[in-house]
């Protein structure tokens, strides 16, 4: 379980302290689909970075399974992300010289998960294209490869940061559906500005100006 207690993230803009997130109290329960909804610039992505350990709060704390992420050295936080979490980013970032299948396998280094990766790609409708390079795939297909990469190894939590931003509505819905269907027992934390993408969410929190305004 992830617990954020009075977590804030500030940055300096022309000498002025600006809050990206302010005093956020939030829990991510095992197996739930948590949606974080908010307009552009509301601090959704920053909150996702805090919850996933990509950023450390400037005030307050974020803990995973009762371990304060700020107390972990950077290498251990990285290993935690690699072993326990899955990520889907706004842009369908893939390594251009790797095939779709190889890009999925990047998520779990050193483990023979080729069959699992192939199965995931099949579930996501990419079986025929698993040996294609990213430039041979459409934007929607690339994001589905990213989804497969995030799901490989059955992570405890999948973080999705506006995964539909670069897709049309139909493809966006499909990606969310695939994420939700294939996450197994893992939690899904998804950030979006589009409420229609969170129809299947167990819980939705609204974020305005870095503050959780409504749960």
């Amino acid at each position: 379980m992830i617990v954020a207690k009075a977590a804030s993230l500030t940055y300096h803009d022309h000498g002025k302290q600006v809050y990206a997130c302010r005093d956020v109290d939030l829990e991510v329960h095992p197996g739930e689909f948590l949606g974080i909804l908010g307009p552009s610039g509301s601090g959704k992505s920053s909150l996702l970075y805090l919850l996933s350990g990509l950023k450390i709060p400037t005030h307050g704390s974020v803990s995973y399974d009762s371990v304060n992420l700020a107390s972990l050295p950077e290498d251990q936080r990285s290993r935690l992300r690699l072993n326990e979490f899955g990520f889907v980013f706004q842009q369908p970032y893939l390594l251009g010289y790797l095939t779709a299948l190889e890009n999925v396998l990047v998520a779990v280094p050193g483990q023979p998960l080729r069959n699992e990766a192939s199965n995931l790609l099949e579930k996501l409708g990419l079986r025929e294209k698993s040996h294609r390079l990213p430039h041979e795939l459409s934007g929607g297909e690339r994001q589905r490869v990213c989804v497969a990469r995030a799901l490989l190894g059955q992570p405890k939590v999948v973080f999705a940061d506006e995964p539909t931003a670069a897709l049309d509505h139909h493809n966006g819905l499909q990606v969310v559906e695939l994420l939700n269907l294939n996450r197994g027992e893992g939690s899904l934390v998804m950030v979006t500005h589009d409420p229609s993408m969170l129809e299947k969410a167990d819980r939705i929190v609204h974020l305005v100006d870095g503050v959780v305004s409504e749960k």
Partner: protein, 382 residues
């Protein structure tokens, strides 16, 4: 496309040939260049030592300015030599230029008595004699196969002539024998030189039984006759002289190689920096997914190491091939010496991969120190 281990160095290098080939190529060319330059420069002293290597199994002692001293010198060598002598005799010499890698080079046609000539040829590893040995007092000579190649001479040709500036003799001295050996040799009869050439000076030749004893004998003679009107001729003097003669050349060579390594390292550092900049999204993504900086650094270093080692190996192989071609087309026809597997030449290339690895490591470490994966996933860098 054949599936590979995604983050293995080979996967990146094979699938990014546009980046890999120029890097490998630059290293290969640098190694080829350095190896070639050093081997060719080394071939100069090597050629000179090869030309005079006939003097390895013998000590020469000649009086200076007073030909009557020879019997006294002979007595000193016979009585005081620190090692047992296998043979002690006298010879005479006639000058005959050969062509060395740096131009005309002095050499001697040695006048020997018949018995000494046979002994001498045995000591020079002669496997076969085509023709015959020069008859006593006749204008005849025997030369070795490398000399025949160097001077483009064959049986029946003239080695010395009255009108030959490179090899004068009052009579035309013809080649009556060619000795098959790697040594450079020109021999004629003692009696012919005695009857036709000045100065009227005998050179003492002293042969020890083993190479080690020969060296002891040579060094003893240097000490024994130091400060006297005597010239001592020993092979180690040729080695010492060639070392001194080429020491400045080697200093210049070191500056050239050092500059070359520096320029290539800077060039490679810039290339690697450009290529790493093109991979920032990849590094950012992997770091965001959970790869540690150490893992990413290790991966980049493995890739760099592979490129550098591959370039070095290709460079060494191509250098060897090129040197073999140079040897057979340019050097062998004139019997010039060239070591195509010169260890010094290969050692000179080692700073290239080492310096490139150091520069690549520093470049990548500096980049990763300031690197923020969030800036990549948020597209602030792309």
């Amino acid at each position: 496309m054949k599936a590979r281990k995604p983050l293995a160095a080979a996967t990146y290098l094979l699938r990014n040939a546009r980046q890999t080939i120029p890097l490998t190529g630059v290293i290969m060319l640098a190694v080829l260049l350095i190896c070639g330059i050093v081997s060719l420069i080394n071939s100069i002293p090597f050629s000179i030592r090869t030309i005079y290597s006939y003097s390895k199994p013998v000590l020469g002692v000649a009086p200076r300015g007073d030909a009557t001293q020879t019997p006294n010198l002979l007595k000193v060598v016979k009585e005081k030599a620190p090692v047992p002598l296998e043979r002690l005799t006298v010879a005479r010499g006639i000058g005959r230029e050969v062509t060395s890698i740096v131009g005309p080079w002095p050499f001697s046609v040695i006048g020997l008595k018949q018995a000494d000539m046979k002994f001498w040829l045995d000591r020079q590893f002669v496997s076969r004699l085509d023709g015959k040995l020069p008859s006593p007092g006749k204008p005849e000579a025997v030369i070795s196969e490398p000399v025949a190649r160097n001077l483009n001479l064959k049986l029946g040709d003239a080695l010395l002539q009255p009108d030959n500036d490179k090899g004068f003799s009052p009579n035309t001295v013809k080649i009556v024998g060619i000795a098959q050996t790697d040594m450079w040799l020109m021999l004629t009869s003692y009696e012919y030189v005695q009857a036709n050439h000045f100065p009227d000076v005998d050179i003492i030749l002293a042969f020890a039984k083993t190479p080690k004893e020969q060296d002891t004998l040579n060094r003893w003679a240097e000490k024994e006759f130091k400060g006297q009107r005597v010239q001592v001729l020993a092979f180690h003097q040729v080695e010492d002289d060639s070392d001194k003669m080429f020491s400045i050349l080697y200093k210049i060579l070191n500056v050239i190689i050092g500059t070359l390594v520096l320029v290539i390292t800077i060039m490679m550092g810039m290339l690697i920096n450009i290529y790493q900049s093109q991979r920032l999204v990849e590094f950012g993504l992997l770091q965001a997914l959970g790869y540690t900086r150490k893992q990413l650094l290790g991966r980049v270093m493995r890739e760099t190491f592979s490129v550098v080692i591959l370039g070095w190996i290709f460079g060494v192989v191509f250098a060897y091939v090129l040197l073999r071609i140079t040897k057979s087309l340019l050097m062998d026809p004139r019997a010039f010496a060239l070591n195509t597997l010169d260890p010094t030449a290969f050692l000179y290339t080692v700073p290239i991969p080492l310096s490139i690895l150091v520069v690549a490591t520093l470049t990548v470490v500096t980049r990763f120190r300031k690197f923020d994966p969030i800036s990549v996933v948020e597209r602030r860098l792309v």
